[in-house]
C-alpha cells in the first residue's frame, strides 16, 4: 500500500520556509541519543528532512573518533545549525557564523538563552541577533517564548519563521498554552514552528491541530524507551494533526446525538 494511500496529503502539503519546500512538517534534533546509529535510525523513522545540529569544539584528544557528520549525508538531510548554549547576542552571532561556514547553507536555528535553569529565551537579545544575522543574509529561525508581541517583532526583524515553545526544553510537558500558539499563528505571516516541550504523540497531534506549520523536537525521541518507534509515532502524529486541522473537526456539544437513525424502529 503506498504512502499516499495512507495520507492523502502526502506530497501535496509541503512545509514552506523562506521559499524552500520541505517534505515533512517534523524537524528533529540530533542530541542525547545513545549512539550515532540510534540517532540516524530515529531520524530516518521520523521522516524529517530538516535536522538540527550544534557547533562545538573538536575534542583534540579524540579527534579520530568518527563525527556525526559521517552519518548525516547532506543529500539525505538538510542540516540546521543551532546556537544552543549561547547567553548573549554576540555569542549567538559568532556560533551562527561558524555554523554557516561548517555547513552548506546560511540557515540558523537561533537560540539566545536568558536563564540556565529554564533555558527560556532572552527575547531582547534574540531580537538584536535576528536583526544582525538577517542583515548578513542568514535565514533566521529564532527559538522564542509564546508571546505574540515578541513574535511580531521577530517577524519585523526579518525572521524566516518564528519558533515558540510548547513548554520548557526537555520538559516533555506538552502544549501548555494552546491559545497563545493560536494567537501567534493567526497574526503572523511567516511560518510558526512549535519548538521544545512536546513529549508524546498526542502532544504533537494537538499542536498541529492549532494550525501551526510544523514542530521541532529532540528529547521526546531521544529519551523515549524505544526512540525509533517513538520517531515513527511522531511522524504519524504530525500528519494526523495536520490532516485533522485541514479536515475541519466536528463541533462539540454537551449532550448526546445518536449515530444511528431514530426512525424505523420495530413495534
Amino acid at each position: 500500500m503506498t504512502d499516499e494511500r495512507i495520507d492523502p496529503l502526502e506530497g501535496r502539503d509541503p512545509m514552506m520556509i523562506a521559499e524552500r519546500s520541505f517534505s515533512s512538517r517534523l524537524i528533529v534534533g540530533t542530541g542525547k541519543y545513545r549512539s550515532h546509529e540510534e540517532t540516524v535510525e530515529a531520524i530516518r523513522a521520523s521522516g524529517a528532512e530538516m535536522v538540527t545540529v550544534a557547533v562545538r569544539r573538536v575534542d583534540l584528544d579524540a579527534s579520530k573518533q568518527e563525527s556525526l557528520l559521517h552519518h548525516l549525508r547532506p543529500e539525505e538531510f538538510f542540516l540546521l545549525p543551532n546556537t544552543a548554549g549561547c547567553f548573549t547576542a554576540d555569542d549567538a552571532i559568532r556560533y551562527a557564523r561558524l555554523g554557516r561556514e561548517a555547513g552548506l547553507s546560511s540557515w540558523v536555528k537561533l537560540e539566545v538563552i536568558g536563564d540556565q535553569e529554564t533555558l527560556l529565551p532572552d527575547t531582547e537579545a534574540l531580537l538584536e541577533a535576528t536583526r544582525v544575522l538577517t542583515a548578513e543574509g542568514f535565514t533566521v529561525l529564532p527559538y522564542t517564548n509564546d508571546d505574540l508581541i515578541t513574535a511580531l517583532r521577530l517577524e519585523e526583524a526579518g525572521a524566516a519563521a518564528v519558533m515558540p515553545l510548547a513548554s520548557p526544553i526537555g520538559s516533555g510537558l506538552g502544549l501548555l498554552n494552546p491559545l497563545n500558539i493560536r494567537l501567534l499563528k493567526s497574526r503572523l505571516s511567516v511560518p510558526v514552528i512549535v519548538d521544545a516541550g512536546v513529549g508524546t504523540a498526542s502532544d504533537a497531534c494537538l499542536t498541529m491541530e492549532q494550525g501551526v506549520d510544523g514542530i521541532l523536537m529532540n528529547t521526546a525521541l531521544a529519551a523515549a524507551e524505544r526512540p525509533e518507534l517513538m520517531a515513527s509515532a511522531m511522524r504519524l502524529a504530525v500528519r494526523a494533526g495536520r490532516a485533522a486541522y485541514l479536515a475541519g473537526r466536528m463541533p462539540t456539544r454537551e449532550w448526546a446525538v445518536p449515530s444511528s437513525p431514530s426512525t424505523g424502529m420495530l413495534d
Binding site: T30, G31, Y33, R56, V58, L68, L98, A102
Partner: protein, 66 residues
C-alpha cells in the same frame, strides 16, 4: 612556536599554515571550521594562512544537538 588551540596552549614545532596545524593535530579539514584570533579562516585559505606565534585557534565541528 606557541599557539592556543581550543583553550589549551601547545607547541607547534613544525610551524607553517593552518592546514599544517590541522595535519599535525590529525584533524580532517573537511570536517571542521577554524577560527583564528576570533576571525573565521575560510576552508580554501587554510593552506595560505600562516600560523604565527601566540595565535589563538578555535576548531569546531557539528555535534548532535536539538
Amino acid at each position: 612556536m606557541k599557539v592556543e588551540v581550543n583553550g589549551t596552549s601547545r607547541e607547534f614545532v613544525a610551524g607553517g599554515s593552518v592546514l599544517a596545524l590541522l595535519v599535525e593535530l590529525e584533524i580532517d579539514p573537511r570536517m571542521v571550521v577554524v577560527e583564528r584570533n576570533r576571525g573565521i579562516v575560510r576552508r580554501d585559505d587554510l593552506d595560505r594562512v600562516q600560523v604565527e606565534d601566540g595565535d589563538r585557534f578555535e576548531i569546531v565541528q557539528f555535534v548532535g544537538g536539538g
